[in-house]
Symmetry: C2
Subunit: 265 residues, 2 copies
Amino acid sequence: MITANDALLPNYPGIAAKEKSKEKASMVKKDKQAVRLQTLRVPRASELVAEKLRSLIVTGQVLPGAGLPSEKELVSQLGVSRTTVREALRILESEGLISTKPGPKGGIVVLRPGHDSLTRSLSLLLQLEEAPFSAILEARRLLEPLCANLAATRATPEELFELRASLEALRVSVGNTPQYVQEQLRFHLGVFAAAHNAVLRLYTTSVGDLITARATLIGLTEAEQLIGVKAVEGILAALTAKNGNLAARRVETHLRAFDAVLQRQ
Amino acid sequence: MITANDALLPNYPGIAAKEKSKEKASMVKKDKQAVRLQTLRVPRASELVAEKLRSLIVTGQVLPGAGLPSEKELVSQLGVSRTTVREALRILESEGLISTKPGPKGGIVVLRPGHDSLTRSLSLLLQLEEAPFSAILEARRLLEPLCANLAATRATPEELFELRASLEALRVSVGNTPQYVQEQLRFHLGVFAAAHNAVLRLYTTSVGDLITARATLIGLTEAEQLIGVKAVEGILAALTAKNGNLAARRVETHLRAFDAVLQRQ
DNA sequence: TTGGGTTAATTGTCTGACAAATATACTGAA
DNA sequence: TTCAGTATATTTGTCAGACAATTAACCCAA
């Protein structure tokens, strides 16, 4: 039981001095105490609540799948209004950290954020910059070979085994376009993971998502799918042989071919 | 003047059917009416409001710097409560699309989102995966050479001019560590921009931000700064000569040296 | 046992109110 | 006249309370 005193939120609302120094054009002649302070941004209560809860999540004090206290409890524990709590929840939700569901057994549940938030953010920015789709394709053609190169030297036997299984599934799926696309994606993700670099994996996965989202619209002929299978075989062979440069080159030609198909439509 | 009738939000709450077809492994014996529907997610009012306003922004109907209607007006135009409007605003704010300020002449103002949201998202994910800092450094060592390579063939004369100016500023800043770091960053950003690929620019910028955030903590000796200037000179020369491979190689060695300095601390 | 209704817990939304921030207009004194 | 201070109005920030919607679990009767 947590009483109002050991509240999660210690010292709100900001009686804690809010001195703002305006550094207008006040270039005084006397430079004696010219310790220019930065304009200080006074945080909203909802931001503080979001921060508090976020830190609970990222520090692992609340694990994915577990529930956070209900809104009512948060209100009483934090000593803020439900409005404030709910605004904080919307922030965390848009960060992909939680989701909420009404009803008993509902509540606020912690998620394990995937790359979705990253992808959404990237997508939004690209939209705003009116970046052409070709830029995304180009980025992938440059990024995935990097992953393949790393994966060739870093893939564990288990990861190679997974990739082989993925190849089998891909073979079987030929003819069924949606499933084929699905399996292609799985293989690619496997390569990204085998590169053992979280940044690259997240990045390539995001651009991959953006491309797949558009690619699922167009169909693939069986001939094209068979070519894709061949390409994957070659990539996997290069990875197995731990030949990074070869793997990278094969990934690039594979992607180049796929991009051509995409543009065909 | 907009009355309550031509409200931005036409048909809430979601009676508007949201049917998605779910293709599970539901290979039923009777395939007669097996149109398995996906569990339909009924959107919150706040999400719809956020969507509406977001589309106003991304379609350019409201330009950065301009103001959105005040909360009061949104309430009357959209026909939802202020609670709902405010939750929507928190979502958009966390996406970097708007900011709010109280007072007259305050209100909701549209921002031009930079890469900040992307960086925050990436940072959060890396934190959750407990990715080592070295992964970020490695990613940069792989990504920036790609940019340099592209920039060598794509940089416009104006961009090269900018880079030369940046180099001059860097020379002058030697001795003043924070300013030196600043100028280094500016040069790098210039190279990213000259690559003319939005995805790569955003990605490398984000990674760069994460590194700079940590790098500003440690100091740089004047000798190290001079080495950095030399490196930038070499990179710029390669770019001017439109020698992509050389530029890429020089960027990589430059970064390798810098990473070593970082790890020295 | 089963079907259906009831109950209770939780989020979703609405309303109204007041506090805080702040640009503008006004007012009074030097 | 000029300037400092005050009043005012506008907008966001926060709070409190109420009711609606959702839904898991329970209970009860057929």
